[in-house]
Symmetry: C2
Subunit: 409 residues, 2 copies
């Protein structure tokens, strides 16, 4: 893969196209060996294309440099590297003109440049602003895509991927994403020590995020390969137990939503340190209004007592960051909204506001399910975002485990 | 830059190290021309190092491949490419052993590998799990850093950057980040058409996010360069007017927080479609408890009427997604919490739940400041995340503009 664009090399833009394309390609059975970002410079780009072709890959994808400006050099670089002329493509010119006309805009002379293609290339229809192209060179299929992420995705999915699937003869992979919460990356590795992580027929990758460790299992999409993956998935699930919350990559919010639907219960949130994040996560799921009733962000202590009914004695004697306050908040939001489950968070998110007694990272969670309330104390590390994120996901996981018990009994 | 790691080429991991390092380097005056991700393969890595050195860069940074496993090949690749032997570094071995001892762990034989260095290399002290190193080869300074993002940042900031600053003689850049809200990328470009975007002494880059367009101005950090940047910043600010909410890169939440402090007002949130996101954004700022009192997530209509006091007649006649409901929510949350300002959101976030009358993307905002309430209707596009994000940021911007008026009059 070659990505052109100075913005990728100046600290301004995260290259999300790389993670997208490499993920799509691995699912097709194509393993990327090199992904290069280069500046918008003709000789640099030509050299990068030459070096790539010298490795004789089945596929070379270029991204970016297809706009109308003088910084857009992909067409020129491909033509120069392959010794091809650039030719105006009439169909493409008409499509570009029509695009301007349909919006009542005038097509400028500079846009004509976008109708140029290396001789023999096939234009890829575009829904955005930049047309792409594909061409075959010896054993390599070369595809040029726009750099704007949504335009790249659209063109990859609808135009390029079907072509690549036909022209390259790779065996597709089957991918499973097992999501876990409550274990660190090294504990996951220890618990799975008896498993061969490097079996080429069923590889295991991990990704660590605030919502837990995801295990990514990949195998050949053949009957034998799928059988092997099934067995691997079963072994991992047995070894990690109830830390696994999804076998299909779904989020913790989606898993909790599924359990709420299954049990017919509803939920409300009472948040102090997470400031609304817990509600936001629960409502990330479309259709969550069928089980999420609402919540109270009780940042100020007067909201904790006045709206949620946390007793003033609790706030005075134990403080807002305490087991007792967390329990009263979870119960209070159930009373207020009529929800059958209440989840609460109260803690010190930092970086300011900590004390010896109650340091930054100390968080209490409350979880009321009908008449029973449990609380949990967390000592979290990291910055404000990590502490708040980890607190909100831990609250979701607390509810998940309680609902899971009800479903299994 | 060379990043090694299969996880960067399988769709699992976003390469955040690239955006971090290129940003730090541009501030030092070092412009990255090539950033390459390669698989964990010795010959691939050696070839990548050879090709990079052939371009005679002032700096070559390697990231990843410094762990104890057989996939960790950076030490071997550097030694092989430069024709150096690998030697055990006693100081490094002691430091690694001490690290294990201090945690009551046993250092295994495989960890000894981490004390190997190419002959002549200087070890870089490490706070994480992987030691790095630096060495000079002809005109190129070569630095090897760990791949784990927080370990890389820590080592770059405390060990590598001071070395690089001394050994390379680049002129640092001065960077300004002007943040705007309410204009699209093309409108920003049109409004700034009279400005030269490619002046090498003061370049302009843009970044588009849900919280608006950021203009990144870069110039040489010399008295003349800074004077030029000041003038450019003034011109842009004059052309974009009150769309600019920050000249120093601060977030919209921070800008709103500053205005609330300046006016001595407090705020509360009443959220339907944003589900807690607005509260989360307001409380992203440490110390926000001095002006943010709390909020109500009124997802269910019973919460809108029962807790916030939205009249049943409004819900029946105009619906929950209406100007009137938005206004009543903003006023209701002020009454409930005692805040002087109330911000509300109600809309259809999708992908389900839209109708001809009220399509996905229709959102009403309410903004009460003391006795005056205004509402705003938005027609947003994109997926659920985009619609909710844009709605929350638009609500913050609505309050920002109203507070700004009070500050300027």
């Amino acid at each position: 893969l070659i990505f052109s664009g100075d913005e990728l090399l100046r600290g301004d833009t995260l290259n999300t196209n790389q993670v997208y394309l490499t993920g799509r390609l691995v699912d097709l059975g194509l393993l990327v060996t090199h992904a290069l970002c280069v500046t918008d410079d003709l000789s640099v780009m030509c050299r990068a294309i030459d070096d790539s072709l010298a490795r004789k890959p089945a596929l070379l994808v270029l991204s970016g440099g297809l706009g109308p400006t003088e910084d857009d050099l992909t067409r020129e670089a491909v033509a120069a590297s392959l010794g091809l002329s650039l030719e105006q493509h009439q169909g493409l010119l008409d499509a570009i003109r029509e695009r301007f006309d349909s919006r009542g805009l005038h097509m400028s002379e500079t846009n004509k440049k976008q109708a140029l293609l290396p001789a023999g290339a096939t234009p890829l229809p575009f829904s955005g602003t930049a047309p792409g192209f594909a061409l075959q060179h010896d054993h390599t299929m070369l595809v040029a895509l726009p750099g704007v992420p949504w335009e790249l995705k659209d063109m990859w999915e609808h135009q390029a991927e079907p072509l690549v699937r036909t022209h390259t003869k790779a065996t597709p992979y089957e991918v499973r994403r097992l999501r876990t919460f409550g274990l660190g990356e090294s504990t996951v590795a220890q618990n799975l020590a008896e498993i061969d992580w490097h079996d080429p027929e069923a590889t295991i990758g991990t990704r660590a995020d605030l919502d837990g460790i995801t295990l990514i299992l990949r195998g050949i999409a053949s009957p034998g390969g799928i059988h092997k993956l099934d067995a691997l998935q079963d072994r991992i699930t047995a070894l990690l137990g109830d830390h696994v919350y999804s076998m299909s990559g779904e989020t913790l919010s989606t898993a909790v939503g599924g359990l709420l639907r299954a049990t017919g219960l509803t939920v409300a949130a009472a948040e102090s340190c997470t400031g609304g994040l817990l509600g936001k996560l629960l409502t990330d799921v479309s259709g969550s209004s069928s089980y999420f009733l609402g919540g109270v962000i009780a940042y100020d202590n007067q909201v904790k007592s006045g709206v949620l009914g946390v007793p003033d004695e609790v706030l005075a004697a134990r403080g807002a960051v305490s087991n007792e306050a967390a329990a009263a908040m979870a119960q209070g939001v159930c009373r207020l909204t009529g929800a059958s489950c209440g989840l609460s968070t109260t803690g010190i998110a930092g970086p300011d506001g900590g004390s010896d007694d109650k340091p930054v990272g100390l968080v209490y969670l409350g979880c009321a399910v009908e008449d029973t309330t449990v609380t949990k104390r967390l000592n979290l590390f990291g910055g404000r975002d990590q502490i708040r994120g980890r607190a909100a996901f831990s609250a979701l996981d607390l509810l998940r485990r309680r609902l899971q018990e009800r479903v299994s009994t």
